[in-house]
């Protein structure tokens, strides 16, 4: 089976979707002729023409707002916000319009759009190229939120998102674009060609939204993670020798609560890990759900390892990023509790 980077897998997902359905259109800043600042849309304009893949003005509200209008017409826009850090001008359109259109019109109009956004840190991106705003989307009724962690899932989840009848926020951890990253910034990065999840089938397949994947089976503690943190958690488990069960949530909303609850009931312990800031982050929701659903099985408090409650700094990148050492400490403390 061919191996692809996450960038190539994402591009392939759009290529497959555009080839199957001429209602799928792709646009955003630098997305057309140039093929995207991360190369995710390279070649699509040449293959499908300028009316299917095109450059947009630098106006995030305009990109999402026009996509909503296109979806109301009957197209299936898959648009890009260059960095998740720059989605805020579109937040009104996403939270009050895209998310509510089906509900407020009782299905008279719907909004089958996908909004792709490179997300996450670990790249010396500083304050506005590193943010993880997923909790600002999971709090919104009517949006689905997806965060893939590998090329195979990225393609299958993106095709599923494009085919989904509802608006999907598709957050792509840019730290994972070229290879998995476990937080050991001082070691060389392995490319996706050397990783089994870099195997990406040709043609059409989907990974269903709302289904988690167990990346490491274990019996001592359940780790809930997504995106880059999946690899950080794996490294922390190996380095501490703690037999952690690592769940890659893949979709934050709808959430695969059944897989989470079954695992925590088995292990009796739970550590939640994300890059986003701690307070009111998605980890708070996960922690609350585990507490509500697994209270009598818990042998320790649910722990959270997250970004500090500060803006994402530049020079202090590795003091901020929740790396394997911090996650490892949380695993040990949870086992000792």
């Amino acid at each position: 089976m061919p191996r692809r980077t996450m960038i190539e897998a994402i591009r392939d997902a759009m290529d497959v979707s555009m080839g199957r359905d001429d209602k799928v259109v792709v646009f955003g800043e630098d997305v057309g002729f140039f093929g995207g600042v991360f190369r995710c849309t390279q070649g699509l304009q040449a293959k499908y023409g300028k009316s299917r893949c095109f450059d947009a003005p630098i106006n995030e509200s305009g990109i999402v707002g026009s996509a909503i209008g296109m979806a109301a017409y009957g197209l299936k826009p898959c648009v890009e916000i260059q960095f998740a850090d720059y989605m805020y001008p579109a937040y009104d359109q996403l939270t009050q319009e895209a998310s509510r259109l089906r509900y407020r019109s009782n299905g008279d109009f719907t909004c089958p759009i996908v909004v792709r956004m490179p997300t996450g840190g670990g790249i010396f991106g500083g304050q506005t190229h590193s943010q993880s705003p997923e909790a600002l989307f999971t709090h919104v009724s009517g949006l689905k939120t997806v965060v893939p962690s590998n090329p195979h899932d990225a393609k299958g989840l993106l095709i599923a998102a494009i085919e989904d009848p509802d608006p999907v926020i598709f957050l792509e951890p840019k730290r994972l674009y070229n290879g998995p990253f476990d937080g050991h910034h001082d070691r060389p990065v392995t490319p996706w060609s050397k990783h089994e999840l870099g195997e990406v089938a040709d043609g059409h397949y989907t990974v269903p939204l709302g289904k988690a994947a167990i990346r490491r089976t274990g019996s001592a503690v359940t780790v809930l993670a997504y995106g880059t943190m999946v690899y950080v958690a794996q490294a922390a488990a190996e380095e501490t020798g703690i037999d952690a069960e690592i769940i890659d949530l893949r979709t934050l909303l709808p959430l695969d609560l059944d897989t989470i609850v079954a695992s925590v009931k088995k292990t009796g312990r739970c550590v939640v890990v994300h890059e986003a800031t701690l307070t009111s982050g998605f980890g708070a929701e996960l922690s609350a759900l585990v507490q509500e659903n697994c209270f009598y099985h818990l042998e320790a408090p649910v722990a959270r390892v997250a970004g500090w409650d500060t803006p994402y700094p530049h020079a202090q990148e590795w003091d901020y990023f929740p790396g394997p050492a911090r996650v490892g400490r949380a695993l040990i403390e949870t086992m000792q509790a």
């Binding site: 009316s51 305009g62 707002g65 026009s66 909503i68 009050q96 319009e97 009517g142 009848p165």
Partner: protein, 410 residues
């Protein structure tokens, strides 16, 4: 030149406040028929003057004059008068229903009936409006059932939106009326996107965007103009300048720019300014812009100069911020009276027939109201089920919503 020295902060103020005498002497009203009618493929740069004038067809004697006259037949004008009268009657009854506690909220169109009623007649089946909350004339003029509108206003068991939306936030794809949102200006850029989609699909349908004077200050107004200009989208960009954004006079949104129409010029979008209380002028200008869009010549911005004669909403008291008699002093008059006088001047109508039509229309509205109220009002009679609260958030209900629905006991 001001003296060099300390800066002074500028905040625009309307000419007159409550207690003062209404004064519109600063509003320049050109003679009817004086503004030329360019070809639809005109170079936008050559018609910049039209963004600073006012296209008018009906003169003081009720005659239709000038190059913009003649876009409607006699029968169409009689139908147009009936639509405007129906909207006014509908407004009066629904405002009263709100005062009687049958619904929580209402917004009238008083004085602006010509804008949406006449515009609708310039569109073709399949075209899509992206209205604000003050274009119900688009529905009335397209034959949308008044009973259904009232069912929505009452949030009753026949409400097509299942009680989820505030009164008057209608939605009808079938009637080319996009779902209304409470968030101002968001639909303006969505209209442009819809028009882009029509062009992408090599369709022949066009979109119409709607916004008020106050909301042009929102960033989505700018987004829409950029996208419409860049992609030459087949969209008519309507700005209804009724002089007031709740309590804020239009100068707060307009600032030092000459007109709202002039905003289009910076984007290379041809811009027309029209007498919004002149049914014939509104229709002629709308038709011109719609034809331009349909012939792939791109967007047009239209500013309708009108006056919000009523309160902003059923929750508003305009006497707190403007003179009570200001609407009477508005120099462009009343759209219903002006079309009525035109039809009388042409021998197509009479005061007697007008009074008779008013009574007939009131009967029709009352009958619709009776029928709607049989389905319930906000606090009495049939209402949408609690289950409906959980439906339609997504195409398929996800597990967490199913759990919450069970917790709610439905």
């Amino acid at each position: 030149m001001a003296d060099a020295g300390l800066l002074r902060f500028h905040v625009p103020e309307p000419e007159v406040r409550p207690g003062g005498t209404p004064d519109f002497s600063n509003v320049t009203i050109p003679e009817a028929g004086s503004v030329p009618r360019p070809e639809i493929d005109v170079d936008p740069r050559t018609i910049r003057d039209l963004a600073f004038s006012i296209i008018r067809v009906l003169n003081r004697d009720g005659q239709a004059v000038g190059p913009w006259a003649g876009s409607l037949s006699d029968d169409e004008l009689l139908v147009g008068l009936r639509h405007m009268m129906t909207l006014r009657s509908f407004d009066t009854r629904m405002q009263m229903a709100q005062r009687q506690g049958k619904t929580s909220f209402y917004m009238q169109h008083l004085g602006e009936e010509a804008v949406s009623c006449a515009f609708r007649k310039a569109l073709m089946p399949g075209d899509m409006n992206f209205p604000t909350y003050r274009q119900a004339g688009l529905l009335i003029a397209d034959g949308y059932p008044m009973v259904t509108m009232m069912n929505q206003i009452y949030s009753n068991e026949a409400d097509p939106l299942k009680g989820r939306q505030l009164p008057i936030m209608y939605s009808s794809k079938e009637h080319g009326f996009f779902s209304i949102s409470g968030n101002l200006a968001t639909q303006y850029i969505q209209a442009v996107g819809w028009a882009m989609a029509s062009a992408i699909s090599n369709d022949s349908k066009i979109a119409a965007a709607w916004i008020g004077d106050g909301s042009t200050a929102e960033s989505d107004f700018h987004s829409a103009l950029v996208f419409a200009s860049t992609y030459k989208a087949p969209v008519v960009l309507n700005v209804v300048n009724n002089q007031w954004a709740i309590s804020t006079f239009q100068g707060i949104a307009r600032g030092g720019s000459g007109t709202f129409a002039a905003r289009g010029l910076g984007f290379g979008i041809p811009a027309l300014r029209v007498d919004g209380n002149d049914y014939l002028a509104v229709h002629a200008v709308a038709k011109w812009a719609a034809e331009r869009a349909r012939k792939n010549l791109g967007p047009t911005l239209i500013e309708y100069v009108t006056y919000r004669a009523g309160a902003h909403s059923s929750s508003d008291d305009p006497s707190a911020y403007r003179p009570k008699t200001e609407s009477d002093a508005w120099p462009l008059g009343d759209p219903v009276v002006r079309l009525k006088n035109h039809l009388i001047a042409r021998g197509l109508w009479s005061d007697e027939r007008h009074v008779q039509a008013e009574a007939e229309i009131l009967d029709t509205v009352l009958a619709a109201q009776k029928e709607a109220e049989a389905n319930g009002t906000l606090h009495a009679g049939g209402k949408p089920s609690t289950r409906e609260m959980f439906e339609g958030v997504f195409a398929e209900m996800p597990p967490h919503l199913r759990r919450q629905r069970q917790q709610a006991g439905v």
